[in-house]
Amino acid sequence: MAEQVAFKRTSVLTDDYFHYCPGCTHGVAHRLVAEVIEEMGIQDRTIGVSPVGCSVLAYNYLDVDFVEAAHGRAPAVATGIRRTLPEDRYVFTYQGDGDLASIGMAEIIHAANRGEKITVIFINNAIYGMTGGQMAPTTLPGMRTTTSPNGRDTGLCGHPIRMCELLDTLVEPKFIARGSLSSPKLILKAKKLLRQAFDLQHSGFTFVELLSTCPTGWGLTPDNSLAWLERNMVPFFPMEVFREPGKMPPQATPYHPDLKVRDDAPKAEKKTEEG
């Protein structure tokens, strides 16, 4: 009987071993990104931007050109790349919740607001993993971390931030969705979201949030982590497609080409000057 290929490893992943902890879903997310890049045939046209956090070494695993960003600044770095390279290139960032929703909040909001033609992959595991399990902007109320030993006190540090919902208030984004990596079925669904985002990238800003586990940071077994995610994170971070073609963005401010705030603003070109 001829051998059948039941599972093929994507060629966009390198041969390196993941450094991630057992049960961490970063590896799954990496593989999904790699498979999307392979299926679209864009490996030679893709530039990744790695963050600071557990996935700081993403460039070791995803076999595409990479630029490393400072903590939180990946959307700004991606902006610089996007605005430089030809339109057929694909540019993505891969960021965790501390990187994107805390120190990098300004960069993500403004890149989304400008409609940068990039895909942002947002790994939300409700904790700072690499630094050892500190409270993140997405840490759930009451959730214990090394810097919220009695559980997140919302009176002291507010509620977790829902990034998809926040970005959904902006006009420019073309795709905003939240998925989860907590079950095989949801993983397949997450891959579809990533594919949609990459497919739409050249039309504007695209954003996929993936609910992820951090067994080490959470102090749970891999199995229990998955159950904990579905029981506690999903109710607070609903899995939805917030923005996609056909789903209208909020009302844009009307554009007035003739709207002038001041008369003495320098003219763009000499020849457009009156007289």
Binding site: Y59, E68, R73, A76, V77, T79, T84, H110
Partner: protein
């Protein structure tokens, strides 16, 4: 063909010179007294097919430079002292990742919000404290608008040659004043960009531009490689002007940027009255022109550092003079510009104390 002289403001001349030097991308954030640079760029860059983008902060701006530099294009930003301080982290990443770019700092008064008047309080920031880790930036300090124009092409070439950000350090005076300028012919030099992250070529090694090397042995090797470049810079890129130094004047003023031209006016007056005074003007603040200054130590009786600060570059002068001659300092700060009269009086007083 003789180039036409044009009367231009320092900031606008810097912007135009950058474009003529092939600057294609500009990212920045408004701050006085350099706003004419982004304003000019926002008008001109689209005309030449370039990209102007106002960033949400200086922090974002420097990281946009990081991305554009990594993608292999000539890119610059400009800012002023506190804004430049915000860029220091990203600038360090660019040194580590060996990414070229030009950073213009039009200095204003500090510390803190300070004021918006001319200052030279960032000498230490740019030559010592700009970003974390073992690193250097070539720092060029123009004294006239024409010199600033000529420096822009040089700055881009140096950034590309060494794959390291290059700083042009001016002050509010040079930014705001107008002088006649002529623009040099564009440089013919070309630079290898095969290292840029533009998409992995099939069958070739991919390009990863990063500053993270978790293995200490590997990081040490990386830093040593960077310092090989810095050593070459120190050998090849020292620039200075020695003015009125041919008759071995006993008193030598050390000053850079616009302070140096004020010192020149003072020296003319002093010489007219029979006082022999010379000027040593570093053009590159880093690498400091150690070798040039060293040749004048023996023949000089007194060095007088003059700066629009409480004394920053003078420490480099002291380092070279190394106790062999007295090195004194006089300066104004907070946005106060030294006057010719003040410098004349300072030199006379100190010469008299020397027994001149």
């Amino acid at each position: 063909m003789a180039q036409r002289r044009m009367l231009m403001k320092g900031t606008e001349a810097i912007a135009e010179a950058a474009i003529r030097a092939g600057c294609h991308h500009f990212f920045g954030y408004p701050i006085t007294p350099q706003n004419e640079i982004p304003e000019y760029m926002s008008r001109r860059l689209p005309q030449v097919g370039g990209v102007y983008l106002q960033a949400e902060s200086e922090v974002a701006a420097i990281n946009m430079l990081c991305g554009a530099g990594a993608a292999g294009v000539r890119v610059m930003t400009s800012s002023s002292s506190p804004g430049v301080a915000l860029m220091s982290e990203g600038a360090s990443y660019m040194v580590g990742g060996e990414l070229p770019a030009v950073i213009v700092n039009i200095m204003r008064g500090g510390p803190g919000l300070g004021d918006i008047q001319p200052s030279q309080g960032d000498y230490d920031q740019m030559t010592r404290g700009f970003g974390h880790g073992d690193k250097h930036f070539i720092v060029l300090a123009p004294s006239t608008v024409q010199e600033a124009v000529d420096m822009m092409a040089l700055a881009f070439d140096l950034a590309d040659e060494y794959r390291n950000p290059c700083v042009v350090l001016g002050d509010g005076l040079i930014g705001q004043m107008m002088e006649p300028v002529t623009f040099p012919e564009p440089s013919e030099r070309t630079f290898d960009r095969s290292w840029a992250a533009t998409g992995k070529k099939p069958g070739q090694r991919r390009n990863i531009l990063r500053s993270l090397f978790l293995d200490p042995e590997v990081l040490e090797k990386h830093v040593e490689k960077l310092f090989e470049k810095f050593k070459v810079m120190e050998l090849k890129e020292q620039r200075y002007e020695a003015w009125m130094m041919d008759d071995a004047p006993p008193v030598v003023i050390s000053a850079y940027g616009t302070t140096a031209r004020i010192a020149k006016s003072a020296i003319r007056e002093l010489r007219a009255e029979g006082h022999r005074v010379g000027l040593f003007r570093p053009i590159s603040a880093w690498p400091f022109p150690v070798d040039g200054l060293a040749t004048y130590v023996e023949q000089t009786r007194l060095f007088l550092g003059i700066e629009m600060s409480m004394g920053q570059m003078v420490e480099d002068v002291r380092r070279v003079v190394a106790g062999r001659r007295p090195v004194q300092f006089w300066g104004r700060t907070g946005g106060m510009v030294p006057t010719v009269e003040e410098i004349v009086a300072q030199v006379k007083e100190r010469s008299a104390a020397l027994g001149q």
